[in-house]
Amino acid sequence: MKTVLTCTVNGIEHTVLADTRDTLLDLLRDRIGLTGTKEGCGNGNCGTCTVLMDGATVNACLILAFEAPGRDIITIEGLSDGGRMHPIQEALVAHGGTQCGFCTPGIVLSAKALLDTNPQPTEADIRHAIAGNLCRCTGYGKIVEAIAAAATTARES
């Protein structure tokens, strides 16, 4: 069954024809065309589909599209400023905190939610913030270093 849904993504209001069974992830990728948000496990374990909903990280695969109207949703596409990468993205590049890159959009948004509320996180805070984001390429050491560096850069600027 089809339904018309209106929701705000990255500050832009979208009115789209959706399937009533769509998840927020389906809505973002297949109806709006924002494919930066990835589907990994599809059941809330891996965090690759992490987006911000009213400022808090959520797994888009665990949310019905019906729940999106009235919420402020930010995806990875909403972070770059006119094509310039967000400082968290720059830090991940500089520290080699990415390999295949599939988990990276989710990691960036989890890091952003952390730094927005806790500008001076400890290593334990960072590890807790990304506990719900699984990376299968590598260890988490460089990712943690990159987020710590992004926090330092943000405090100094």
Partner: protein, 290 residues
């Protein structure tokens, strides 16, 4: 996933009316329900979203000191609530063990209870604090102990048409404290092989006046450890006594062997975690817990 109708009521009464139909399911955080529906393990012809009902998302400190937590309040909201963090730290810390941050931002306290996993991380601390449940139905409201709500893996005692409205933590007992400890191979994003919550109250002489020990992942539901509790009453909380309580709690457990651990391993974990949780509670009281 089958097609469904989506409703967003704004009062408990409207939600109860909407749920009083076969095929209707309540949706709070959706962290269990949505994947269950996508994988065909649960079906629904009507989804009733509870997150727009003020009473179901509110956390209220009552005049008598008790705290009512709306069943759709998120784990994040529960863990960050000042009164819960100050007075019921075992509850605040246990909900921070549910999944990762993304899940905690959505998962509800009522959902963790009603999904009825024997390993549900929110449940042992709530039972140790002697929490009660407020339940609404077309006939009105009733209250029961939270323990009565839990019937088995994936099963509660809620009748069709009944809705869990809130969880009530009773007023704080002076010189009491609780702790919940679980064992997982990984620190985060894992399911407890065994978990133990302990609540303990000391009298003016420092002897144990009352105790509740709750064991998780070692029976079809979280269960009390009555033999271990009885051993403690009237005694000074020496480490020998707490170790003995752990040994008795391991006998009170009814674990199975599965891929996550053998029954013997689970009993050993119960023994160790019980002694540690009791010691944690005593330390909080001695450190001047409220």
């Amino acid at each position: 996933m089958q097609a469904f109708e989506y409703l967003r009521p704004e009062t408990v009464e409207a939600a109860v009316a909407a749920l009083n139909e076969s095929g209707a399911r309540a949706l709070a955080g959706g962290t269990d329900l949505v994947p269950q529906m996508r994988e065909g393990r649960r079906s629904a012809s009507r989804i009733v979203d509870l997150k727009h009902i003020g009473e179901l998302t509110a956390i209220t400190v009552r005049p008598d000191g008790s705290v009512a937590i709306g069943a759709a309040a998120t784990a994040t909201a529960v863990s960050r609530h000042a009164a819960i963090a100050a007075t019921y730290p075992a509850v605040a810390s246990s909900v921070r063990l549910i999944g990762g941050v993304q899940v905690q931002n959505r998962a509800s306290l009522g959902g963790n209870i009603c999904n009825a996993a024997p390993s549900a991380d929110a449940v042992p601390a709530l039972l140790a604090q002697d929490a009660r449940a407020v339940i609404a139905s077309p006939q009105g409201r009733r209250e029961s102990s939270l323990a009565e709500l839990l019937h088995g893996p994936g099963r509660t005692s809620l009748s069709p048409g009944e809705l869990l409205v809130s969880i009530v933590l009773p007023p704080h007992t002076p010189r009491s404290a609780a702790a919940y400890l679980r064992f997982t191979p990984r620190r985060e994003m894992d399911i407890a092989i065994a978990g133990v919550a302990a609540w303990i109250a000391l009298d003016a002489r420092g002897a144990i006046a009352a105790a509740r020990i709750v064991l998780a992942s070692v029976a079809p539901t979280a269960i009390r450890a009555p033999t271990a509790e009885a051993k403690l009453i009237g005694e000074q909380p020496t480490s020998a006594l707490l170790t003995e309580a752990g040994r008795l709690a391991a006998q009170d457990a009814r674990p199975i062997s599965d891929t996550r651990g053998s029954a013997d391993y689970r009993r050993t974990l119960v023994s160790v975690l019980t002694a540690r949780a009791l010691a944690d509670g005593c330390a909080q009281i001695q450190a001047g817990a409220p």
